[in-house]
Symmetry: C2
Subunit: 264 residues, 2 copies
């Protein structure tokens, strides 16, 4: 199968086409190169890029950028790590395409959320998909049990929890990535009435302090903080599955990473 990097990108940008203002772009590599294989990942770490090279894949599709800022405003200036990474990537010849806005906003439901739902095996419990979150009606459980289930199904070593582990819960709201902040997650608990929110990342003085206050004022609420990568990686794994179905002749792999933090 003869397929160029640009043809894969054009396929990815269906449905809906790219947004006008977007971070989604081919960051490195030749759009006319023939694709030998695809690796998807949360972020183009060294291990991910080496894995692609080792697998003979020359197109890496990632959700976050290579240089540590959401807007990909370029490598940090006068920085030895960025310089080494830039040189390594350019010498590798890898094409790196970032798909962030399209997979979140052009897919209905959000393609990253779909991956999380699949990984949690919660498809049967979906109540509603909204733009920035999804609501689930789970069989009644406790916050502590829910945290253990989530850890096991996502294969992550720890989660950070606010609320009583014994709290009964049924209605859960999930938010991927950096949607754990006050503007996105508090209305899920407050106006939507979810018992628990499950999210990737968000400012600590926002939703976590809200949940602490809720319990102090006699309103039982809980939050489970997964980690940013932990909440979005399943979406990139699902993307690899779908690309594998779309291009049956082409090797397509998902490359996971080790946990970012060690808890000490």
């Amino acid at each position: 199968m003869k397929l160029t990097v640009q043809q894969v990108i054009d396929g990815l940008m269906q449905p809906g086409g790219a947004a006008v203002q977007t971070v989604d772009a081919l960051k490195f590599g030749d759009p006319h190169a023939q694709v030998t294989g695809i690796v998807t990942a949360f972020l183009p770490t060294r291990q991910v890029l080496e894995r692609a090279v080792g697998l003979g894949a020359n197109l890496v599709i990632v959700h976050e950028g290579a240089f540590y800022t959401h807007h990909d405003s370029g490598p940090p200036i006068d920085d030895p790590v960025a310089a080494a990474k830039l040189e390594w990537i350019e010498q590798s010849g890898l094409a790196i395409f970032r798909i962030h806005d399209h997979i979140h906003h052009r897919h209905r439901p959000d393609g990253i959320m779909e991956g999380l739902v699949q990984a949690l095996d919660w498809d049967a419990y979906i109540d509603e998909h909204r733009d920035a979150y999804s609501l689930f009606n789970l069989p009644e459980t406790t916050l502590g049990e829910l945290a253990q289930t989530v850890k096991a199904r996502l294969g992550i070593p720890y989660v950070r929890v606010i609320g009583s582990p014994d709290m009964r819960c049924r209605k859960v709201g999930a938010l991927v990535g950096y949607r754990g902040g006050a503007a996105t997650a508090i209305p899920v608990l407050g106006r939507e009435g979810a018992d628990v929110v499950l999210y990737g990342e968000g400012p600590e003085w926002e939703t976590p302090e809200y949940v602490r206050d809720a319990n102090a004022y006699g309103i039982a609420k809980g939050a489970i903080v997964l980690g940013h990568a932990e909440s979005e990686s399943p979406g990139m794994r699902l993307l690899a599955e779908r690309l594998g179905e779309r291009y049956p002749g082409l090797p397509v792999h998902y490359a996971g990473e080790r946990p970012l933090f060690q808890v000490m």
Copy 2:
């Protein structure tokens, strides 16, 4: 000693006066009320406010706001937790003053950083105080030992660490609060050449992924993520000490909080 809330605020706003655009303000209470006692804290949680009431203090001085946003844009709309908290605060009659920008920017060094340095007992190792960070030359240690020392001295149950625990380190940069992002923390590791950064909070795909990459490209770096409250609470404890010295006749206390997260 007869002292009004406004007189304490005027004293706090020395030196330099309040910034023109600032979140620092009397959020609740009567500026003309006579102060019966002061409690300082990181954030006005229910437990902090109850402690003030229990101590007979009617002025609470906090670093972060009551309603889960940096800009104190008001309580979340139609929210039962915010409504309960608002009613409780108004019935308590407590005055709540927020000091955020002044203590960070009008004090030299940053008054919150000073508290962290004191809590870490690193005064002898200060290399330089800069606007957004401070540099320390520590006796050589390892990243793992450093993490244990920091935990013990700050009295916190866990830290999140990136980098090899065996990495030797000497030059450390510290950043309080939400200064752990790429724009503030990466130059400390890169251009300033710190071995390790120690910070409160910051986006996970920024500094942590930089540190992971650094080690992958053969440049030994480390990061210790304290938690936002954990990095800034010592500054509010130091403020209580200073207010106690300024007003010897007045009861002044610092109210700590339990850790926000349970790691499961």
